[in-house]
Symmetry: C2
Subunit: 462 residues, 2 copies
């Protein structure tokens, strides 16, 4: 392993120069005028894979932007195979005037947080070109320094993550054999904090619903009809109020049936994060947090399901007074789900409950707009354990374990289609300006990340 690490440490300047070149390509997947840049970026990655010593390298066309594949599978069938997922497309750059240096002219500047360290500013630096590059360089280091790798490694880099990965599931299904693996590793998240390496082992799912309440057949004068006609806005408010209880729980029968309880080990790991309510209060500018009783803020934020109204409308929303009883009211209501809640089942339970709660004086319609599975890779999964050892060795710090409140739908897809658990090993930082001007990669995380990845391949071999 030492020869691998030595190799890495003696190539920092080259790694940085190569990443800078990759970041100069404006591979914005959502903007048509960058279609050519997408192809350029895919070709550059394929060329870099070949240079790293991968075989079977190819640019795979899709209905949208292409994916890039490469592998090194000579470790033997008794060794595990790990699939590295990353994406080479980036977010748009507006508002351009807020960038201190142009988004596609990478700039190295001193870190604002860590004395003596430097950050690399560019669109895509952290999300995700810098992070996918880490694993490619780690594989190269193994191969150049030792001529071999302790595990089989496959790479799939897509070009449509920022537009919702519309062609990734079809690609996975079509190339299931090619992508066959024992586990997936994704580096596309931030670490818990500077100097605090962490593994994200759970993600929440989503059920996004829309509720329409119709009262009278037209808007009415509230003077003439107030007291006779059910007001759909009042009714909607009543219904929404009854969807949660005083303890902050979701009051839909059956909602918690499939929720996997937090283990003592998990709760201990959450406590070890030492996140205070005060810091959240400061961040949100509120006097008091809300949520389910009996759980800490970080637990509520990521390991417990929630129900939030994301939008509501009805009646007169302009300035001043208008004495109308509206005919219709609408709410968009989403529920964050945790393992093993099923978005389809939750949507059914939600719909049933709404219909039960609606009085006969109105009509309700419930629409299931969107669903996503929650995901979890158990803390005691061998891949998770290997990742924790690797991070510990590379960063020399205690490794934290966290769950994310949001969703990364591909993680559930990897599990469903490839049958493989995913390790989320993020090397970003919380203030990396994701999707915003002045996106940055903390360079110590980049270089140490390559070492962590190198360790990971060794640790995975067991």
């Amino acid at each position: 392993m030492d020869t691998v690490l030595d190799y890495i440490r003696s190539h920092h300047d080259q790694y940085l120069a190569e990443l800078v070149e990759l970041l100069k390509i404006p591979s914005i997947s959502s903007e048509k005028e960058h279609k050519g840049d997408m192809k350029t970026a895919a070709k550059a990655l394929a060329a870099r894979m070949k240079k790293a010593g991968l075989s079977g390298v190819k640019v795979i066309p899709t209905a949208g932007h292409p994916s890039v594949y490469g592998e090194w599978c000579k470790a033997g069938k008794d060794k595990p195979t790990v699939l590295v997922y990353g994406h080479y497309d980036v977010q748009p750059v507006d508002p351009l005037n807020l960038w201190k240096t142009p988004p596609f002219e990478p700039s190295v500047r001193p870190s604002t947080k860590v004395k003596g360290a430097k950050d690399l500013y560019a669109r895509g630096a952290a999300d995700d070109k810098g992070q996918l590059f880490i694993h490619l360089l780690a594989v190269e280091a193994h191969l150049k320094a030792t001529g071999t790798l302790p595990v089989n490694v496959k790479f799939i880099f897509e070009g449509e993550e920022e537009i919702g990965s519309p062609n990734l599931v079809p690609l996975m299904k079509k190339h299931k054999a090619l992508l066959k693996c024992d586990s997936v590793v994704v580096s596309d998240t931030p670490m818990f904090d500077y100097g605090k390496p962490s593994i994200t082992y759970g993600l929440r799912g989503l059920s996004f619903m829309e509720v329409h309440v119709t009262g009278p057949n037209s808007d009415l004068h509230s003077g003439t009809f107030g007291g006779i006609a059910a007001n759909p806005i009042n009714v909607l408010c009543d219904i929404v109020a009854k969807l949660t209880d005083k303890r902050g729980k979701v009051a839909i029968p059956g909602f918690y049936d499939d929720v996997v309880k937090l283990t003592a080990a998990e709760r201990k790991a959450y406590a070890a994060l030492k996140v205070s309510d005060a810091s959240f209060k400061r961040q949100l500018g509120v006097r008091e947090l809300a949520g389910e009783q009996g759980y800490s803020a970080v637990e509520r934020q990521s390991a417990r399901p929630t129900l939030d109204v994301n939008g509501i409308s009805g009646g007169y929303e302009g300035k001043g007074a208008k004495t109308v009883i509206a005919s219709k009211a609408m709410a968009k209501i989403s529920m964050r789900l945790v393992p093993n809640q099923d978005p389809k089942k939750i949507a059914r339970l939600f719909t049933k409950r709404i219909k039960e709660l609606a009085p006969r004086s109105v009509r309700v319609e419930v629409f299931d707009l969107h669903g996503g599975d929650p995901a979890m890779t158990a803390l005691d999964n061998p891949a998770t354990q290997a990742a924790m050892r690797a991070l510990k060795k590379a960063f020399g710090k205690k490794v934290l374990t966290t769950r994310e409140g949001g969703s990364i739908p591909i993680v559930a897809d990897f599990q469903k289609i490839l049958g493989a658990p995913t390790v989320l090993m993020g090397f970003g930082v919380p203030d990396e300006n994701l999707h915003a001007p002045n996106e940055k990669l903390h360079l110590p995380n980049f270089f140490t990340g390559i070492e962590a990845s190198a360790h990971y391949f060794t640790e995975l071999a067991g």
Copy 2:
């Protein structure tokens, strides 16, 4: 009285022709280009007052459109003085293409409801030129046929009713002595139904409030912060839900303290209207009505206070899904008030209750946008009794008594400033297309209305 009635009956053609001329003037108070037409209409009315035999006739300028005054006060100091209020301004005419005949080219067509009868179609026919003309012609009939009037009569016709009467209260205060009277009569409402003459003896007031709920200091990702941050929309729904109870009552402490209870006589009069829930359900297109338990629909609609959300907004209201926790949510909430509820007191109680209901995790702001006093002229008031006898004599039908769910703010103003009760003696019909295309006046109501007004002056004299 017979000579008066004979006079009226022999002048129908002339009355109709004169009303048609008045209706040709496009006196739309809200549109600047009709400022000249407003003056023309005011002058025409002043001229007609003089022709009718009134004295002291004058066009009174205001900060907006002028009012027109005239009087006949020779009945003697021992006789009551009645003030006739009406308005000569009319609503705009859009959408013009839905008018079967042009709004300012009055057209007589067969009634769609009463066989053999005719209706007069024109903007302002019912609201309010036709109705104010009724009283002027009745006074004229008395004076021409008998040379005298049993009571003193004053007329005030304003030109700003359709824009909220901004200058009427200042005018009343300035000309308090001129307008001094024992009662006011206003004909600017519909009768209960065709062939069902009625007196409106009560009006609801209004308290219109706006509630703002602020949670986190910016919109948040519901994945990252769902479970920590209080969602201002959910909180607003909770608050709104708690403002009414299961029995349909307003759940604000003190809200009902000043409500005048319905008397047995009133409830009997309501029952006599024989309005079925089924007819309301058909009209509104609903399976079930809503409202306060223990009261009939017509009672709830006009004699009981209510609380309705008139508008609500917050978060993402567009198409599809957006997983946001909004920073703010807003609701416009109005309460219809009944005698003797005070809008200012109700606004205070409402504000207090909202602040009590808001959890510490949000900030609430409550704004008092608008208030209006409820009004009632007791059924046993001599003016009301006189009006009922007059309608009975003219229409030959049982006279119904009703209360209106809406507000006519000037009625409370007459009481407050002039100390005079108001009789609402409407000659419109429910389908008169008020404020809409094809406004119409049912001509039998116009002609019989003149007789009713003539009777009213006699009955008022006692």
